[in-house]
Amino acid sequence: MTAMNRLLFGTVMLAVSASGAAAEEVLLTLTGAVTGGQVELTQADLDALEWHEIATSTTVTDGQPVFRGVLMRDILDHAQASGDTVTARALNDYVIDIPMVDFHEFDVIAALYMDGIALTPRDKGPVWIVYPRDDHSVLADIRYDMRWVWQLRALHVQ
């Protein structure tokens, strides 16, 4: 299954590369209380982590799309992040503080695929923070909906 996913991932990567994104391009930048004060993650770095899937409804789409990506806590562990709050910043400079406990309490993922299609900056990509909204009733709340950052590009840990 994983091999299958990797194969699929590779194919999509080729497609992304063709549209101008390089595999070595930095997708996410972590700053603050992380290894060396700054950690830059490329597609390849994320590819090395374990991938997860969440099928959940969202507030801005219909139905229950399947999201695929890396657990936020895995990304933070990878960067040896330590702190209480993660400040997420999007391409359009949307900024929001997310408590670190969210990532340990829920399987929040940094999604790169929605329904098998890679997220791009022209949609809500390249990275969309997705909460398992349908698995926990408490998450169906505007206070959590605000933390679904799309077009995520940077995380600041403090």
Binding site: T59, V60, T61, N92, T120, A140, D141, I142, D145, W148
Partner: protein, 438 residues
């Protein structure tokens, strides 16, 4: 009629309970609905989403006008496309369609995509397109806001309606609950009244029984007068008649004999009167015992002596003195009463024993005769006023002796009991508070 009333009251109670519960369920359902509709969803933030689209259009305009790098133009272009794509997504698109604002929006998007700078689109044409888009968006922005507020107001109206409904249901439940309480209180009052009626009936029954007992007492009293007063009077009358008979004057011996008979009859009448008077005093509570320590043996000996009964009565004292806390006059009265009974109701040749003993903390004196004793029925009514054994109706006696003796014993903190003697006869036991030798 009353049963029909009870039926309607029960039916009313049941109906009220159903109404009360039903209204509470309605209220609870409405409150749950309100709770569910209270959630704010991000879709409702359309003003912000639309504003973001406007901002991205303006940013792209600015990037195209300035000296900014082509990378920045590409980023701004991507962001504007992403915002237009977001507007095209399900909930947002429905909102815009319902507001009549969707029309033309996707045409703007398609035009934008045709001028993609990443694929070498015409920058000047792109600039003109974006400027025109900015103007179009500005015109729609206020309409989006107005629509948003309208949606929110409608939602609040719905919530308010649910809220009022819940409130009305709760007030209804309160009213029916109050009615229920009134019914229950009324029911309780009825039950209480029934209980009071029952207690009153019981008291009436008791009063009636007492009245019956009293009238039975009067009947027995009349019986007593008939036998115990008439007999001595008849004896005296007969003696007087003999003494005054014409001719054949009585000899001095006859006069003496008749005088003796008459005196004895008078003495019986006096005894009867004394007993009745003492009983009346005891009933009135006018007899106050003078309690002190006394030797029960000596009181018994004196009582025996006073009877002049010869050798028939034997005092059988134990080897220890029996000291009772009592009134010697009253105790003597009791014992002579018991002894008179024993003499009267046992054959002349039999013996009567008197045994004072100390039993625990009680000083006792048993008077045992060898007469015919009493039947169980006689034993149970022996202490009723004016009660005479059916077999002894014609023997002298007031029917007050035993009740009076028991009264006197109880006045001194003691009691008087009767039990059959083994081998025939009766044991009358006087018990009095004893003084334990230390």
């Amino acid at each position: 009629m009353n049963r029909l009333g009870a039926y309607w009251r029960s039916a009313g109670l049941g109906a009220l309970i159903v109404v009360c519960l039903g209204l509470l369920i309605v209220a609870a359902t409405n409150i749950i609905l309100i709770e569910r509709q209270m959630q704010i969803s991000a879709t409702q933030n359309m003003t912000w989403i639309f504003g973001q689209t406007q901002i991205e259009a303006l940013s792209l305009s600015a990037a195209l006008a300035g000296d900014t790098s082509s990378d920045d133009v590409l980023l701004r272009y991507d962001l504007l496309v992403s915002r237009l794509n977001l507007l095209r997504d399900g909930p947002q698109w429905r909102f815009l369609s319902e507001a009549g604002l969707a029309e033309g929006l996707m045409g703007w998007r398609d035009g934008l995509l045709r001028l993609d700078p990443a694929e070498g689109g015409d920058t000047a044409a792109l600039k003109a397109h974006v400027t025109a888009l900015t103007t179009a968006l500005r015109q729609k922005a206020s309409q989006v806001m107005s629509r948003e507020w309208q949606v929110q107001s409608e939602r609040l109206d719905r919530l308010s309606k649910l809220h009022l409904l819940a409130l009305a249901a709760i007030i209804g439940a309160l009213i029916s609950g109050a009615a229920l309480a009134v019914l229950l209180v009324d029911r309780e009052r009825r039950l209480m009244r029934a209980r009071v009626d029952r207690l009153r009936a019981e008291r009436l029954q008791r009063d009636l029984n007492r009245e019956r007992a009293a009238s039975e007492g009067y009947r027995r009293f009349a019986d007593l007068i008939a036998h115990q007063v008439r007999t001595p009077l008849a004896v005296i009358d007969s003696a007087m008649h003999r003494l005054t008979r014409s001719g054949n004057p009585p000899t001095p011996e006859v006069i003496h004999a008749k005088a003796d008979v008459s005196r004895e009859a008078v003495a019986r009448l006096v005894r009867l009167t004394d007993t009745a008077l003492l009983m009346a005093r005891v009933d009135r509570g006018a007899v106050a015992p003078d309690l002190a320590c006394h030797d029960l043996d000596r009181i018994a000996a004196t009582a025996i002596e006073d009877l002049h009964a010869g050798r028939r009565v034997t005092l059988r004292s134990g080897n220890r003195p029996v000291t009772a806390i009592c009134d010697p006059v009253l105790t003597s009265e009791i014992l002579s009463n018991l002894l008179s009974n024993a003499l009267l109701y046992s054959p002349p040749h039999t013996e009567i024993d008197v045994r004072p003993v100390l039993n625990g903390e009680m000083a006792m004196c048993d008077v045992c005769d060898q007469g015919s004793g009493m039947t169980p029925e006689e034993l149970t009514s022996a202490f009723d006023n004016f009660m005479r054994g059916a077999r002894h109706r014609d023997l002298p006696g007031s029917g007050l002796g035993l009740p009076l003796a028991r009264h006197l014993a109880r006045l001194q903190g003691g009691d008087l009991t009767l039990k059959p003697r083994e081998g025939g006869g009766l044991i009358a036991r006087l018990s009095l508070p004893g003084k334990v030798a230390t």
